[in-house]
């Protein structure tokens, strides 16, 4: 200190001058800060355009549970039996959800309140996903740095910050498990790769905790617990087994498994379910490998060792197979679930589990949506793979495997594009970074070569070799510049595309619908909330509402009323019962509704506004799911020559089933469009077939201002006297 004080001013100034390394650090940190902010603010379109609100369906359940958690504390939350859903069965919430998201939000909320920021829990929930997206960019940077270099890390951070594939699930208000899970996923992978690279117990311990967080947050953890063993297996096969790998995998697996068992929803699945057996098998394989290594070390005779190897491997494989077979037979190890099958075989769900196939985000991905979500990354991905293969290391093998497997899954299901996004971004970042680096190196070194050549005359051998190279390729410099410009053009196109997609496609809350009015002004359809709020205020607090399962979470969260089925589709029979009620005639349906104590029936109808994802368009799924359990319901009854229609030519059963009646009740008197007959359905563009609908056991209780939600009250049975 004294020395500093005695220094002259000029020296002091000089000491403040940054060195090149410090400058680089400064630039890197400021880029990261900007990316961090960018990732956050690009996800705020929906808040600015609409309001700070929770989006879609599942996030409403998460919000409701978070609210419960913050109000009643963790233990009440853990032991919560929710009798407001799945009436009359109820749901053990604590044991049937991944609590990571709620606990995270509640923790952030607590911290903010401790720091005296009096925010509402809703704001915390709305901004959780963007916050974690920002954190993901940091992880992407470190991951990129680990597998390639700092440049690739920075590019990866930037790419992932705006990549639509990720934004689709992490805009403000999209308070869903995926929001934090992608962060957890990438973080676990990063820590594991770090652990493999260093062989350090600390990193593998950290990755075990990362895995624990992932398990607590999302069911997608199965991807980790299968990808990592697969990776280890590949390393073993390619002869890259090392002590580092041994330490990293064993520590991560054992600790991660023990930690994961603490999540009640997962429980003992790590040792009991078929989906987790690969990890265990690889774990034992690692031990065999280690053992063999040790024996090899002890035995000097190679022949003896070969024999020993053969015996051991045969024994191990037999024991393993027998154990697996016994486990399967005794039922101790459960077979793969339908969801898992449908991932491996895209056609499985369609034939066997209509409830999975009915969800739009479970459909196989179209090429256009790949293009939509990845844009130029789709072309950079193979290039990145090329670079990875060119410089093969443990880390690049990992990212290659991650990229390839997740790309396969992304092709199977639309929603899994999300899982592929980090890998695609990282691999593309390697491509961008490596290309740009090569090009700039070319430009700079040549300049230097010319300079040295001109000033010193002779020049070093390196410069002369570059000069030689120059002569062999005359337009190299221009080519490099052109390529650089091309790369920047592509990247800027990517940025504009991402912003456009985010603002146009992924920032709609889907609770509030917006449309362009006749004069170009924005028209808001706030019918969902109108109906839910009506339910909340004007029905008895113990009223039971029957609706298709899509709206279950929203009714309980916003309407605060008991529902029969909701988006947690755990009981197929119950859903099928509702489907059956909806597709039966009214007098049959009333029996089912009475048996379920239904007080109100809610249907969503888009015929007035032209809103196409309404219950009439979902109706065939109700028939299918209902028919899957109750063979009385037959799909062909509702179709005419295999065609689904609602106009005069529709099947008679269709025209008189409960759903049709509830949707079109008194719609025949309504003029929806100028120049069209009354009862013209704008969503389907036809005049409805049954205009004279009489309801016997139900009465209209409420219809929203644009008719999107219609609520009917089940009348009490008639007095016999």
């Amino acid at each position: 200190m004294a020395a500093v004080a005695n220094m002259p001013v000029s020296d002091l100034l000089k000491s403040f001058k940054l060195k090149t390394k410090q400058q680089e650090l400064l630039i890197r940190v400021s880029i990261l800060c900007l990316v961090y902010i960018l990732a956050f603010i690009t996800r705020l379109f929906s808040v600015l355009r609409y309001e700070s609100m929770i989006h879609e369906f599942d996030p409403y359940f998460n919000y409701r549970t978070t609210l419960y958690l913050t109000q009643n504390g963790f233990y009440d939350f853990w032991n919560w039996f929710d009798y407001e859903s799945w009436y009359p069965l109820g749901r053990i919430v604590g044991g049937t959800l991944y609590p990571g998201l709620m606990v995270t939000a509640a923790l952030i909320y607590r911290i903010l309140h401790f720091l005296r920021f009096a925010v509402h829990i809703r704001e915390v929930c709305v901004l959780t996903a963007p916050f974690f997206a920002s954190n993901t960019t940091l992880v992407a940077y470190f991951f990129g740095k680990e597998i390639w270099d700092t440049g690739a890390g920075l590019v990866a951070a930037i790419l992932i910050a705006v990549c639509p594939g990720y934004i689709s699930r992490s805009v403000a208000g999209s308070y869903d498990n995926e929001g934090v899970a992608i962060f957890a996923l990438l973080f676990t992978f990063y820590l594991f790769v770090k652990a493999v690279n260093t062989g350090s117990l600390a990193w593998s311990l950290a990755s075990a905790f990362g895995y624990f967080y992932m398990v607590s947050a999302w069911g997608g953890y199965v991807f980790i617990i299968n990808l990592i063993p697969l990776y280890v297996l590949v390393l073993l096969i390619t002869g890259r087994y090392s002590m580092r790998l041994y330490v990293a995998y064993n520590c991560m697996y054992v600790l991660g498994m023990l930690l994961a068992m603490q999540i009640r929803f997962v429980g003992f699945q790590h040792v009991q379910s078929g989906e987790h057996m690969a990890a265990m098998g690889v774990f034992f394989l690692m031990q065999v490998f280690y053992f063999l290594d040790w024996v090899k070390h002890m035995l000097s005779d190679t022949k003896l060792f070969q024999a020993f190897l053969r015996i051991t491997v045969t024994c191990a494989v037999t024991v393993g197979t027998i154990a697996l077979g016994l486990g399967m037979l005794s039922g101790y190890i459960s077979p793969w679930t339908g969801r898992f099958y449908s991932l491996l075989d895209p056609t499985y769900a369609k034939d066997h589990i209509p409830i999975i196939a009915s969800v739009s985000e479970h459909q196989p991905t179209a090429w256009s949506s790949f293009m939509f979500d990845f844009h130029i990354l789709l072309f950079l991905f193979p290039a990145g793979l090329y670079f990875c293969f060119k410089r093969l290391s443990d880390a690049t093998i990992f990212i290659v495997m991650y990229g390839l497997t997740s790309m396969y899954f992304a092709g199977v299901m639309v929603r899994l594009i999300l899982v592929a996004t980090p890998a695609v971004c990282l691999i593309s970042a390697i491509a961008v970074s490596a290309t740009v680096k090569n090009l700039t190196v070319l430009l700079r070194s040549k300049n230097k070569g010319v300079q040295t050549g001109s000033t010193k005359g002779s020049g070093s051998s390196k410069a002369s070799s570059k000069a030689l190279l120059d002569q062999s390729q005359p337009f190299q410099k221009n080519g490099a510049i052109a390529l650089l410009f091309g790369a920047f053009y592509l990247l800027s196109k990517y940025a504009t595309h991402c912003t456009w997609v985010t603002s146009e496609a992924y920032s709609s809350p889907s609770i509030v619908l917006a449309a362009r009015g006749a004069h170009g002004s924005r028209v808001i359809f706030d019918d969902y909330r109108e109906a839910y709020f009506w339910l909340r205020q004007n029905t008895p607090p113990d009223a039971k509402v029957m609706s298709w399962w899509d709206y279950g979470y929203q009714i309980t969260a916003m309407g605060n009323r008991t529902v029969i089925v909701d988006n947690n589709t755990w009981n197929n029979t119950h859903i099928a019962t509702v489907g059956r009620a909806m597709s039966s005639y009214e007098d049959e349906a009333i029996e089912i509704m009475r048996s379920l104590d239904v007080d109100y029936v809610l249907v969503v109808f888009g015929g007035v506004t032209g809103y196409s994802s309404d219950d009439i368009n979902k109706f065939l799924w109700m028939v299918r799911i209902g028919g899957g359990v109750f063979p009385v319901i037959k799909e062909p009854d509702y179709l005419v020559n295999g065609e689904y229609r609602v106009d005069k030519g529709a099947a008679p059963k269709m025209l008189n089933c409960l759903m049709y009646k509830l949707c079109y009740y008194r719609f025949g008197e309504m003029l929806t469009e100028y120049g069209k007959p009354p009862g013209y359905d704008r969503a389907r563009g036809v005049e409805i077939g049954n205009k004279d609908i009489k309801l016997e056991h139900l009465e209209e209780a409420f219809t929203t201002s644009n008719w999107i939600v219609r609520i009917y009250k089940v009348k009490p049975p008639n007095n016999r006297w």
């Binding site: 609409y50 309001e51 609100m53 005296r116 920021f117 009096a118 690279n197 062989g199 890259r240 090392s242 580092r244 290391s393 443990d394 880390a395 609770i511 509030v512 808001i524 706030d526 909330r529 109108e530 839910y532 709020f533 009506w534 909340r536 205020q537 004007n538 916003m558 008194r666 008197e669 309504m670 009465e699 209209e700 209780a701 409420f702 219809t703 929203t704 201002s705 008719w707």
Partner: protein
């Protein structure tokens, strides 16, 4: 229905007359009312009564108190009583407001309740004065039938007395009752009674003794909605940085005839006049001028149907509930807005500050059953006291908001049964040192400063355990990163092995420890 009501009326009349004969005391009888005219406006759900009394002092001593009497059942619904006296001659008349206070009289017949009007100048014997009295009743129109369908119109019962209940002798009196439409189902006749258009006239009645009472019942159509705010919590937060933030939480209910049966949107949309005529479609809130950042939302989010019109004198906020309110339907919502502080906060002469703000509910034509006003004073303010022009319940609370350490003092004022006429102002006095304004910015600044200091410190302090040999390896490892990792590790091993200084040293130490 008519017959039993009339019967009870006669019973009541005789009862009150009996009471009058029993109680023959007090200086009340010095006064008598020479002429009384009462106009009852029943067009909305707040019943307004304009009473013009000509009071004469027949006694020998001057008196300055005039009593008003109310039946005990109606006093609960009495929202406000105001009395005015005309001053001046002919054209230069001005109205002067008089003090009115509830009074208990020991010998009140049949539990009648009293209000005392305190005259500005005592009324000498033989003199007379004219009083203008206004009082409002809430919840006094009783829907009958109590449940109606969507297309029916709302009919209500109004009960009152044809004669003015008064502790004084009234020489001549007339009562006019105004109904919203000419559709009157029935009304009690107390001759002379006649009806013309939307007005029913009772009287004139001559020379009625004190406590005369003659119940009447009018059954008429009133299709105006009955907006009743069951509970309103107004929170006024003062920030000395120049903003006054008002948050109002409403629990609104339609207090009219309950809705029965179906709600049909087709009918409601295609025949708005016939269907749901008494439904509550929108409300108007009158806010102070220069209002900014207005919001209107509820538990589940923003409600997009509202319009704000502002001019220099007032702001009007027209709000629509999410759905039209039929009888018995409820809605809860929150209105919030900011106001410039200088319009409402002043400094009093004794160096204290005071907030001057309206007390009641800004919604027009609304009854508030329970009002809670919370004034959140800035952190560090002392000695709060509220001055409200009518009797209220008061207490203090503490609230924690952004960056509060000790919490803010909240002055809570509660009042029941309130009507918009009572939107008078109230004041909250407190002392506040401006230095407290800087507490929060300073806190933030120091927090950021500490954060940066911590960052700088972290970058400059090497927290790793200093082991020179290991550090050498580390540097090597750092340089060798571009090589495949496996090679790098083997490098590490080599360096460790080849380092001649290290292993012997370790051996030494272990030997020593063994030896020790």
């Amino acid at each position: 229905m008519e017959v039993p009501i009339r019967a009870t009326g006669i019973l009541g009349f005789t009862f009150f007359s009996l009471l009058f004969f029993i109680c023959t005391s007090s200086p009340l009888h010095n006064l008598f009312i020479s002429n009384a005219e009462r106009r009852i406006d029943a067009t909305s759900h707040i019943v307004k009564v304009y009473l013009t009394l000509k009071v004469e002092n027949a006694g020998s001593t001057p008196t300055s108190e005039v009593l008003l009497a109310f039946p005990p059942t109606r006093v609960d619904h009495l929202a406000t009583v105001e009395a005015l006296v005309t001053k001046g001659k002919r054209k230069k008349t001005t109205l002067v407001r008089l003090d009115v206070k509830p009074t208990e009289l020991p010998d009140a017949p049949n539990g009648a309740k009293y209000f005392t009007i305190y005259l500005a100048n005592p009324l000498n014997s033989g003199e007379s004065t004219t009083l203008e009295v206004l009082y409002l009743f809430t919840h006094s129109l009783e829907p009958f039938p109590a449940e109606i369908g969507q297309s029916e119109s709302q009919l209500v019962h109004y009960r009152d007395s044809a004669l003015i209940l008064s502790p004084y002798h009234i020489k001549q009196q007339t009562t006019f009752i105004k109904t919203p439409s000419s559709k009157v189902e029935s009304f009690t006749r107390v001759e002379p009674t006649n009806r013309a258009g939307t007005e029913i006239k009772y009287g004139p009645y001559e020379d009625r003794p004190p406590y005369s009472f003659s119940p009447i019942l009018i059954h008429f159509e009133n299709n105006s909605p009955f907006p009743v705010v069951e509970e309103l919590v107004r929170e006024v937060e003062i920030s000395h940085w120049g903003n006054l933030q008002v948050t109002e939480q409403y629990t609104l209910v339609h207090g009219g005839a309950r809705h029965k049966g179906v709600f049909s949107r087709v009918d409601f949309q295609s025949r708005p006049t016939l269907s749901g005529a008494s439904s509550l479609r929108h409300l108007l809130a009158r806010l102070p001028p220069r209002v900014h950042s207005v919001y209107y939302r509820d538990e589940i989010g923003n409600i997009s149907s509202s319009h704000l019109r502002t001019d220099s004198r007032k702001s009007e906020l027209e709000i629509e509930p999410r759905y039209p309110l039929f009888g018995g339907w409820k809605a809860t919502f929150v209105i919030g807005y900011g106001l410039p502080l200088q319009d409402f906060l002043f400094e009093s002469s004794d160096d204290r500050r005071y907030l001057n703000f309206t007390f009641g509910c800004p919604l027009l034509e609304t009854v508030v059953d329970k009002l809670t006003v919370k004034v959140v004073l800035p952190e560090g303010s002392k000695d709060p006291s509220a001055v409200v022009p009518f009797p209220v319940d008061q207490h203090l609370e503490t609230k924690y908001s952004y960056l509060d350490v000790v919490g803010r003092t909240v002055v809570v004022v509660e009042k029941k049964n309130l009507v918009p006429v009572q939107n008078s102002h109230f004041q909250v006095y407190y002392t506040f040192k401006p230095i407290f304004m800087l507490a929060e910015p300073l806190m933030l600044a120091s927090a950021f400063f500490l954060f940066f200091v911590a960052c700088v410190a972290y970058l400059h302090i090497d927290l790793s355990i200093p082991m020179l040999s290991v550090r050498g390896v580390n540097i090597r490892y750092g340089c060798a990163k571009i090589k495949p990792i496996s090679k790098c590790v083997s490098d590490m091993k080599e360096t460790k092995l080849s380092d001649p200084a290290d292993p012997p040293a370790m051996n030494d130490s272990s030997n020593r420890s063994l030896g020790g």
